[in-house]
Symmetry: C2
Subunit: 228 residues, 2 copies
């Protein structure tokens, strides 16, 4: 913040972060809703549908915050279309269980990321991100489905563990692409640029954040009964 | 109602109607959300996404009314899965404009049908259907998009008019299938079975209802700039 040659302003960085979150939620909505067609039961369709609708509500909230900040929400999302779409193209579920595992990883990993990122934000943006966070965790129903599928056919575990690794790998690949192309956002997440009223602590290290996200992912895979 | 050998009870008929509406809204949600991937702009994605989310909210309301009536909502939807899925399979949009036209026809035709059907229902079920109705009309934004596309390339009008006819034809085909297989529902819509406190007037004729729905559809196609 006090650098004599700042590479980017907090405004650019927060617009990037919210643009990424908005587009991520919009596509999560779209993909989940489409995946509900894979559900073998009407109850499953309704559960995944409800999750998709929650994602759209998150999109609306973040979109509204971008407008409040004076940003053009569409322009803010645009830089992330390529990476987010590529993530989904490379992790297209071929069946209901894969779709559930992806929903669960997406929900929990995103929540962890929002928790990390919120600390660097101005109070009002932080409140929006935490409001979205409070509404997450809707994929918890997935755990019993996946565990039951593994109990019924233990071979399923190996295949789904590979699938989980592919999702996490693709998420890290696209995150790296984004960090390279959006230095302001990378600086925000590294604690180099923060809001004046940010809550950021002293553990400001992008590598350590990624390590925490990866560890959280590993713990969740174990919850599903899968090796990370 | 006073027949000495009633073919079905009002309870069976209203469960059928609400089951059909619930499954119709659930699949409309699913298909629209998936179609939003066809949107050429992020604004278009968000508009179709918002419509899809409204459909899911309708599904939830009708689902809740089924539960209130003591029906198993999943069992109530089940008989309509075949016909509704077939409708969507046979009217799969191949592009954004087709998706918009389908959304517009679906929204307006369904609203007309709900208005017709509501008159035969008990007060509480009627209130739920009218509550859903009050939230419809979200596809109005489609009109300017389609008219603009036709203005830019008049050849588009012929293709989309055919598309509109295919959608209406398929809707009528599936409606007929449903009427054959669900005599209680057909009797309700013909005014043979109604709730004790139904509002039904004296124009109780299934053929005339279908004529009104077809005329309404024709008027809407004209609004889009298409021949019916």
């Amino acid at each position: 913040m006090t650098s004599s040659a700042p590479i980017a302003s907090y405004e650019t960085a927060v617009t990037d972060l919210l643009g990424l979150v908005a587009y991520g939620e919009l596509t999560a909505f779209e993909r989940l809703a489409a995946d509900s067609a894979l559900a073998p039961t009407l109850a499953g369709k309704a559960q995944v549908g409800a999750m998709a609708v929650a994602e759209f509500d998150h999109f609306r909230k973040v979109h509204a915050r971008l407008a409040e900040l004076g940003a053009d929400p569409t322009a803010a999302m645009e830089p992330f279309v390529g990476a987010v779409d590529a993530f989904h193209e490379h992790t297209r579920p071929t069946g209901w269980l894969e779709s559930l595992v992806k929903a669960y990883i997406g929900d929990t990993l995103t929540a962890d990321f929002y928790r990390e990122a919120a600390r660097f934000l101005d109070g009002a943006s932080r409140a929006v991100v935490r409001d979205v966070l409070a509404d997450m965790g809707q994929a918890a129903f997935v755990v019993e489905h996946v565990r039951a599928a593994i109990a019924a056919d233990p071979k399923v575990a190996g295949r789904l563990a590979l699938w989980g690794r592919r999702i996490m790998g693709e998420a890290l690949t696209q995150a790296q692409q984004i960090a390279i192309r959006r230095p302001a956002l990378a600086s925000l997440l590294a604690g180099v640029i923060t809001a004046a009223d940010a809550e950021a602590g002293d553990d400001l290290d992008l590598d350590r954040m990624l390590t925490r996200l990866t560890e959280g992912h590993g713990a969740r895979m174990a919850t599903l009964g899968l090796s990370a």
